[in-house]
Symmetry: C2
Subunit: 360 residues, 2 copies
């Protein structure tokens, strides 16, 4: 087991990474301070791992909520079912919420914890690669609104994160690939050496080699933790974590949540971002080619779905990174170095979309 300490002053917490960690109840128990717990999971994960987690929690007042599976259920209405259970079972301020599942479960449980009685503790047990490398660090929680992703939420740090690589053995292939998209992102934005390592280990990741997965998770969380430590509330540098996300969110919103996986949309979004970087003369065409090759090798999309430039632009303008009507994008100065820029015109964006085959 590896332990990574996320350093955020009095909101610091450990991330445990390793094999079969959910079979070690003491990891979980040492981070529960009250006598009540509520586990939130979904209908896909529940049959696989809920019994094990429930067993670890014997002796505590135990409640559970099983959500429907999928991004389309990450809504205020479904969130309310968590509050309902907490109140029904009389959970007080010293309760601990436990998120067992992927990013949707983590985001919703974290936000329920942030807002229940104005804030209670929570623990994350992410069971997808995406959530292990993304939601594990940063404290972002929330739900979607029909007009935009993650528009309602809070920053709320967990007591600990337990990333059990063994849970990835049951992950569908498409979701594994989607997680690898975010892993590759960390290489692109701030760690050229890791990017190189990923290029060499792409097939081992796809083959679910647990040691290689553990290393990729550790390195991803480490990179993210360094960025977040510099900028907890996302006023500046932290925005580089959104490489590919402004384009990606537009894709997800246009397709309806749940049709394209988040990581798939980010993959196609990162290709648009690196192409725009090349168009501005910042990176080389060979960099674009290498990214496309790596994404293809792990079965990720490199072109956007059928939608118009107009649709892209409208959906991108509602993104949280738009300040006072000024479009801001994360682009690459080089592989391993992302920057946030507002020096992008609508025409620049139209041009890169046109070259990627997106019709006007």
């Amino acid at each position: 087991m590896q332990t990574l300490h996320v350093d955020l002053g009095d909101r610091s917490y450990p991330i445990y990474i390793g094999k079969s960690l959910i079979e070690q109840p003491e990891l979980l128990l040492k981070h529960i301070s009250g006598k009540q717990v509520l586990v939130v999971t979904n209908e896909t994960v529940a049959p696989l791992y809920l019994a094990k987690v429930r067993q670890s929690l014997q002796g505590l007042q135990y409640s559970e909520v099983i959500l429907p599976d999928g991004e389309q259920h990450k809504t205020l209405t479904v969130l309310a079912t968590i509050y309902d259970q907490l109140l029904k079972d009389k959970h007080n301020r010293s309760t601990t919420l436990i998120a067992l599942g992927g990013g949707v479960v983590g985001d919703m449980t974290g936000y329920a914890a942030a807002s229940y009685q104005r804030g209670v503790n929570f623990i994350q047990i992410p069971t997808t690669l995406l959530s292990q490398v993304d939601s594990s660090v940063g404290g972002k929680t929330g739900v979607n609104h029909p007009l935009g992703k993650n528009m309602i939420g809070a920053f709320h740090q967990p007591q600990c994160v337990i990333a059990d690589t063994h849970t990835l053995m049951t992950l569908p292939d498409r979701e594994l690939s989607a997680g690898i998209a975010e892993v590759i992102k960390y290489g692109l934005i701030c760690d050229a050496e890791f990017y190189q390592w990923l290029d060499e280990n792409a097939s081992a990741l796809l083959a679910r080699d647990e040691s290689v997965l553990a290393e990729a998770i550790y390195r991803s969380c480490l990179n993210k933790a360094q960025v977040v430590a510099e900028d907890e509330k996302e006023s500046g540098i932290r925005a580089i974590l959104n490489l590919g996300h402004t384009f990606g969110h537009a894709i997800e919103t246009a397709q309806g949540y749940g049709n394209w996986l988040h990581g798939e949309a980010v993959a196609a979004g990162m290709v648009l971002a690196i192409k725009l970087s090349a168009q501005l003369g910042w990176v080389q065409q060979s960099d674009v080619d290498s990214l496309e090759r790596m994404l293809r090798a792990v079965n990720l999309p490199i072109t956007p779905p059928a939608m118009s430039q107009q649709q892209f632009l409208e959906l991108m303008m509602v993104d949280k990174k738009v300040l006072d009507g000024q479009l801001r994008l994360v682009l690459l100065e080089r592989i391993g170095k992302a920057i946030v820029t507002g020096d992008i015109t609508i025409d620049d964006v139209k041009k890169v979309l046109a070259n990627a085959g997106v019709p006007a």
Copy 2:
């Protein structure tokens, strides 16, 4: 105009107290940093003051939401209408929400600001005495759940509070009295001298003498700010602000939100709390008599409505101040000195309820 600075480090802000302050646009404008504003008010306050506030905001991208009036509308569903408007009008992270109204408008607007895009700025223009002396300080925001008051929310501090005493001239008599209940509370819990002053000025308050009102607001906010500065997230001493509230919330919940005003329930709750304090030998019967006399003088209820001891106890146990099933209450050691205690038995509570005429 008096200005009170609430000192909370980088979340510090001023409270402006005085006559006709909403006719001074510069007070508002100097606390708006972006180019977008959304004013939230309700159908009662809108015809009285919305035009003036709208006029102050010329030149900014302006949106408004007019909520139905009343505590029964302080729900997740009504909250969602604020998010809808924000998204529809493409408000970004640099927007400012402005709450124009009483406690319900303030709590909901504050919580919408806390959660929209994980946190945007907000300003409070409280138009009731209760909200001027209560919601102005402390950063508590949130909505109710059918199973309990304020169960969903966040701590979120405003950029400034503008307490215009002139808005109290249009306040219904019952709401003025309800506000005075909270004012008296500050005297009881931490300021015996203020309690004495209130006893002498009760009729001037009821007669809406603006100078006396301004002084009462200033002194109430000052007392609250001192308590909150010691304990921003309510882990200890801050709980004394809830004198009368555990009983009061039980009354409000049993009656259905909106039938008893919050301040009325707190008044009857404070009487139960001081009677329980007397029962334990902490205060004198003469203190109980003086409080009952003062409350009666400002037209506040001193006995609970028709409900059973069982109902009281059940509703009190779901209160946020219940830790691990242990009932904790705020009681008075003496006039001007409240403490939080867990040394109360169910029988103690039953006895004080029985003596107050509440049937088993």
